[in-house]
């Protein structure tokens, strides 16, 4: 039986371990628990909000499906006037307060630290695997470190971005879909070998 999910019901999470082809896994996945917040600009306030963020963090808000890193946070554009902010070290509460202070009246922040599971996906076959789940182009010609996308992966909504050239990707997936996402990822990566940390 080649289907590693044959005996695993959709509400049974895949246990950590190695699956699929034996040997060095083609794809490795781990979850990273970081503070998350959404940041939304007020009416006609994208420019002043970006200026305020730049003044506080050193980089302006990315305009478009990209991300910028500064001051221990990553700012990911998810739509016009909308960003997801990921803090490498701050707590959820500290991140929220930090953003609220920076944004002032130009935007609003909302704690999303529990809304999504952050997956870090890497490995030599990661692109070939993600091609089975994504409908967008992740070839280095069009998607590179600094690129981000809000799209769907195997019918699951996600925001993801590429953090290095290896390549390593970070995927934000709604908490309720996390088991389904790992399921889709595992079966797509099985032919290359899959390791769930």
């Amino acid at each position: 039986m080649s289907d590693i999910l044959a005996n695993l019901q959709p509400d049974e999470p895949l246990e950590p371990g190695c699956y699929g082809r034996e040997g060095v896994p083609g794809v490795t996945v781990k979850t990273v628990d970081l503070a998350l917040a959404s940041l939304i600009a007020g009416r006609n306030a994208v420019a002043p909000l970006s200026d305020a963020i730049k003044a506080g963090l050193g980089v302006p808000l990315p305009q478009g499906p990209q991300f910028a890193v500064a001051g221990g946070v990553a700012l990911i554009g998810t739509g016009p006037g909308r960003w997801i902010v990921v803090a490498e070290e701050q707590s959820a509460k500290a991140l929220l307060e930090h953003l609220e202070t920076l944004a002032g009246s130009f935007g609003s922040a909302t704690d999303q630290s529990d809304a999504s599971i952050l997956f870090e996906i890497a490995g030599p076959s990661v692109r070939d695997t993600l091609m089975k789940m994504l409908l967008i182009d992740i070839d280095p010609a069009s998607f590179k470190p600094g690129s981000a996308a809000t799209t769907q992966a195997a019918l699951i909504g996600t925001t993801f971005w590429q953090i290095d050239d290896k390549p390593t990707y970070r995927f934000l997936v709604a908490r309720s879909y996390a088991v389904a996402f790992v399921r889709a990822l595992a079966v797509s990566a099985a032919e290359f070998g899959f390791e769930l940390a």
């Binding site: 630290s113 529990d114 809304a115 309720s176 389904a180």
Partner: protein, 986 residues
């Protein structure tokens, strides 16, 4: 054995054993099932669709109409596989189809004797009368005898995948034109995908004796593929058929494991590729066009191009004495190659009166008999034994066991027509060619009518260059490749005019010239009508070999040109595609991803039964040992809530964070009732309408601070409401400053209900005073913390009709909250309940839910008309005032109770006046939701009734024709339980 002693691209060091129709045979690696069957002198491979005539192998490619076999057995049984496309593997097992008891003797072949009665239109004309016989007799019999092959009954054990790929240039076909096009674009640096349906790329280069740039064709193909594979931006897909164009996306199926007995571990059986190219080069080649003459379906009759492939690529010959019947020079070349391979060439029959001198000379040198201006009038034998040839000298019979035919070349232009393009008839080329392919596509090689190898290569370079340049690459000028190959001259020849026997136009659907004659006689002139009346081109081969001959004969019979007659519409797929490939991983329970609530695993540990609500799995009920059915469990759960306390995960509700100075105004515009006046710390129930005045959704919205609000929506409409609000903000009122974020996933939310709810809540609240009755009255909302510092939002809301709270905590603490509530409520017998008890309690209370918010009801219909503000405008207000929507006789919301309390009311039951016949005219309304109330001890329902609450107190007839049931009910208020709502205020 018909294996030639030498040659071929097969590996004679690797013999393979296989079975066909129960008999064991041997072939070699590199064989197809078809070539291996030919090598073993198997002539009859299948039986035909309608007349059950014996059929052999007609081609060497995907256009094969005859040699359809069933492959493998058990769960991997696969009907209607083309033997010409099946790569031989050790242990392969194949079966003939449509034959009983055997391929050699088929009882249903008696249909041939009935042929004069069962021509085109037979079924339409015959089974008209008597009408009642259609379902009883005719349809079962016709269905039983229709179709070819039997589908497997077991679930497919293999898995399938879908892949999306982008590229600069997609090249379809890896023959001479495709390879040169791909090399040209790839060397310029373009991202190239080249797909070929064969496992061995090269197309006709592997079958014909041509030279490109000093290499023979097969060597050139091998080197080209090696170079392409070495380039990092090139993807070579073999065993891959591009089968359709859908807008800008090309769909292809890669047969990853079809050539193996069982797919490799963890590899899919097939992959569906969705390819989005900037430019496409269609280099799908051309196929030999068959000729229509009596007996043209006899096993042993084969297309000349196929024969060439069998001789040169597979080193097999379908016959020892082969004649050629062709109207083009290429077939003469095949005849010479056959003679060179030691096969007896009995004659070359060419309808053209003259032939090029060099061909005539070579025939002479080889001692081959040639008959010019002649045609094959009939083929004889159940497998081919002889042919009758009519020439200038009269008719003669020539003994042969194989006949190679070619009426010209048909370019594979199907994909170029998938955007509804129609090809034009090119008299010079004798072919249908496409002048306006879909945007971004160029056609190269034989598919564009370039039948000579030099023209093929030139068009490949030209289209490859243009595609690369269009994508922004510069192409270095490369030296022209010197090519040599056979002559490509000829003229199209379709049909031998004679009255003798079966002359097949469509071999797969058994359409004969006679059928076309019938259709024309009966007035069918359009080629589309001809197709549907006769089934011409409606087989799994999509008429690749039959459509042109069919329309040429139709043109002739109706006195029109081929161009004026036109073609039918070309539609995907180019070749058959399995459902598995289209579905990919999304099969069974993975049809769509499953969403799990924050307390899912906690509920599972408690033995909950789950139900699908949209993508969510929600706890439906929590059975205890000894309970005999769900109803008993649910009634226990309800009684527990009503008497003490219960809890349910309501995290699936949509939750939206609204911030900014204009939220109040925004809510006033989207809800029928007013929200801008809502004080901080309070929640309000609201109803939203669609633009057309119908109810869209309901829920509560709470004001957490001056400029922060939190809205809840129903589970099912969470996404719809969010996008509706986005639309309102972005399109209707961009002037409003509202910042909206979905927090559905951020918060786990548990509803705690029952007389003891507050006592339990106070045990886990960090500040118990905050949830006192005075501090948090009905519809109050507060931000606090629970379980020792976990931030929480507590709302005093009740759907059950009891004292109730909804407690929200960050989602990771959802399970912890559930456990804490169970521990805190232990002394009160706190009872987890599921969606069934939730529904029972809301019906007892007369609250509306999904069945009532069904898109056909107004706010007045659901009994909440008084909520709608008259002082402000809101979405849906204007259209909700349409006369039909304010008609007093509209169906209004009421409660329904059986008069005899033993009767069970069910959703879907219709209401009629007492004693009135059950007709549509008498219909008064229906029950939308019903339950076996645990609290009342009998069934109750809510529903919609003409006249609505005005009918309270009336008795009506409840009629349930589907499930049985015809009894009296009393109309009452929908609020069956605690109508004043005293219990929530305690």
């Amino acid at each position: 054995m018909s294996r030639l002693a030498h040659g071929g691209l097969i590996d004679r060091s690797r013999p393979l054993a296989f079975k066909f129709a129960g008999k064991s045979y041997a072939g070699y690696a590199g064989d197809t099932l078809a070539s291996a069957l030919i090598a073993n002198d198997v002539k009859i491979v299948g039986r035909s669709f309608k007349y059950h005539r014996p059929r052999g192998i007609m081609t060497a490619g995907s256009e094969e109409p005859n040699a359809l076999v069933a492959l493998r057995s058990g769960a991997r049984h696969e009907p209607n596989t083309r033997a010409t496309m099946v790569e031989l593997f050790d242990g392969l097992e194949a079966f003939g189809q449509n034959a009983f008891p055997s391929l050699g003797f088929d009882a249903m072949a008696v249909n041939q004797l009935l042929s004069r009665f069962i021509g085109a239109g037979f079924y339409y004309k015959t089974f008209m009368w008597p009408k009642a016989f259609w379902e009883l007799l005719y349809e079962p019999v016709v269905r039983n005898s229709a179709g070819i092959g039997i589908a497997g009954a077991e679930p497919d054990p293999d898995h399938y995948e879908k892949v999306t790929a982008y590229c600069d240039v997609l090249v379809i076909g890896a023959g001479a034109a495709g390879l040169t096009a791909a090399l040209t674009a790839a060397r310029a640096g373009a991202r190239v995908i080249i797909a070929d349906e064969d496992h061995l790329p090269g197309g006709r280069l592997n079958s014909e004796n041509v030279v490109i740039g000093g290499h023979d064709g097969a060597q050139y193909a091998k080197a080209a593929i090696a170079e392409l594979s070495s380039l990092p931006k090139v993807r070579v897909l073999t065993r891959t058929t591009v089968f359709g164009i859908y807008d800008d996306t090309y769909a292809a199926v890669e047969r990853v494991g079809d050539h193996l007995a069982v797919p490799e571990a963890f590899k899919p059986r097939q992959k569906l590729w969705r390819i989005i190219p900037k430019r496409t080069i269609l280099a799908a080649g051309a196929i030999s066009q068959p000729i229509v003459f009596p007996g043209n379906d006899r096993p042993g009759v084969m297309l000349a191009q196929g024969l060439q492939t069998y001789i040169n690529r597979y080193a097999v010959t379908p016959g020892q004495h082969v004649a050629f019947f062709a109207s083009n020079d290429a077939a003469w070349t095949v005849a010479f190659e056959a003679a060179k391979a030691g096969i007896d060439v009995a004659a070359i029959i060419d309808p053209r009166p003259e032939i090029r001198a060099d061909l005539a000379a070579e025939a002479k040198v080889r001692g081959l008999r040639t008959l010019l201006g002649a045609v094959v009038e009939q083929a004889h034998g159940s497998t081919l034994k002889a042919i009758s040839v009519r020439g200038s000298q009269g008719t003669e019979r020539i003994a042969v066991d194989a006949l190679a035919v070619s009426g010209g070349h048909s370019p594979n232009i199907q994909l170029a027509c998938h955007h509804r393009g129609r090809p034009d008839w090119n008299e010079v080329k004798g072919a249908l060619l496409v002048s306006e392919p879909p945007p971004g596509m160029a056609i190269a090689g034989a598919a564009a009518g370039h039948f000579a190898i030099s023209a093929c290569v030139a068009s490949g370079v030209e289209t490859g260059t243009k595609a690369a340049v269009d994508c922004g690459y510069s192409v270095a000028k490369a030296p022209v490749l010197a090519c040599s190959g056979h002559s490509a001259d000829g003229s199209a020849f379709f049909h031998v005019k004679t009255q003798k026997g079966f002359a097949f136009v469509d071999l797969q659907t058994d359409v004969t010239v006679k059928d076309i004659n019938i259709a024309v006689r009966e007035g069918f002139r359009s080629v589309e009508h001809l197709k549907r009346y006769t089934a011409l081109g409606m087989g799994a081969d999509q008429g690749k070999l039959s459509n042109l001959n069919g329309l040429a004969i139709l043109a002739e019979k109706t006195g029109r040109t081929i161009q004026d007659t036109g073609t039918t519409i070309y539609r995907p797929p180019y070749t058959s595609v399995s459902f598995g490939a289209l579905v990919g991983h999304h099969r069974g329970k993975d049809f769509r991803p499953t969403r799990l609530t924050p307390t899912h695993f906690w509920a599972k540990k408690l033995g909950a039964k789950f139900t699908e609500t949209g993508a969510w799995l929600r706890a439906q009920y929590f059975p205890k040992p000894g309970e005999i059915d769900w109803l008993q469990t649910v009634q226990r759960e309800v009684k527990a809530v009503r008497s003490s306390a219960g809890m349910i995960d309501v995290s699936t509700f949509g939750k939206i964070d609204l911030q900014g100075p204009d939220v109040g105004q925004f809510l006033d515009r989207v809800y029928v009732n007013t929200f801008s006046t809502l004080p901080v710390g309070k929640a309000r129930y609201g109803v939203m309408l669609r633009e057309d005045g119908m109810v869209m959704d309901d829920g509560t919205t709470a004001r957490l601070s001056d400029a922060q609000w939190v809205m809840t929506t129903t589970t099912v409409n969470a996404v719809k409401v969010f996008s509706h609000l986005e639309y309102c903000l972005q399109v209707l009122w961009p002037d409003l400053d509202v910042r909206m974020a979905s927090i559905s996933e951020q918060w786990a939310q548990i509803a705690l209900a029952g007389p003891n709810a507050r006592k339990i809540l106070q045990k886990i609240a960090d500040e118990p005073g905050r949830v006192e009755n005075a501090a948090l009255p009905v519809m109050g909302a507060t931000q606090t913390s629970v379980m020792g510092g976990i931030k929480a939002r507590i709302f005093r809301l009740s759907f059950s009709g009891e004292l109730g709270y909804e407690v929200a905590v960050p989602a990771r603490y959802g399970e912890k909250l559930a456990e804490a509530l169970v521990a805190a409520g232990e002394q009160f017998g706190i009872t987890p309940y599921g969606t069934e008890a939730l529904a029972m309690m809301r019906i007892e209370k007369g609250h509306v839910s999904g069945p009532e918010l069904n898109g056909q009801t107004t706010v007045t219909d659901i009994g909440l008309g008084k909520m709608a503000s008259k002082k402000k405008d809101y979405i849906g207000r204007t259209l909700a005032e349409r006369p039909g929507l304010v008609d007093e006789n509209r169906l209004g919301f009421v409660g329904i109770m059986p008069v005899n309390k033993k009767n069970v009311v069910r959703a879907g039951i219709h209401l009629l006046p007492l004693g009135a016949p059950a007709t549509v005219e008498n219909d008064l309304g229906y029950i939308s939701s019903a339950t076996q109330s645990a609290t009342l001890g009998h069934a109750v329902g809510v529903g919609f009734l003409k006249g609505g609450p005005k009918r309270i107190g009336e008795r009506l007839r409840a009629f349930d024709p589907l499930r049985g049931g015809d009894f009296e009910v009393e109309i009452c208020s929908p609020h069956f339980y605690d109508p004043q709502g005293d219990r929530v205020r305690v």
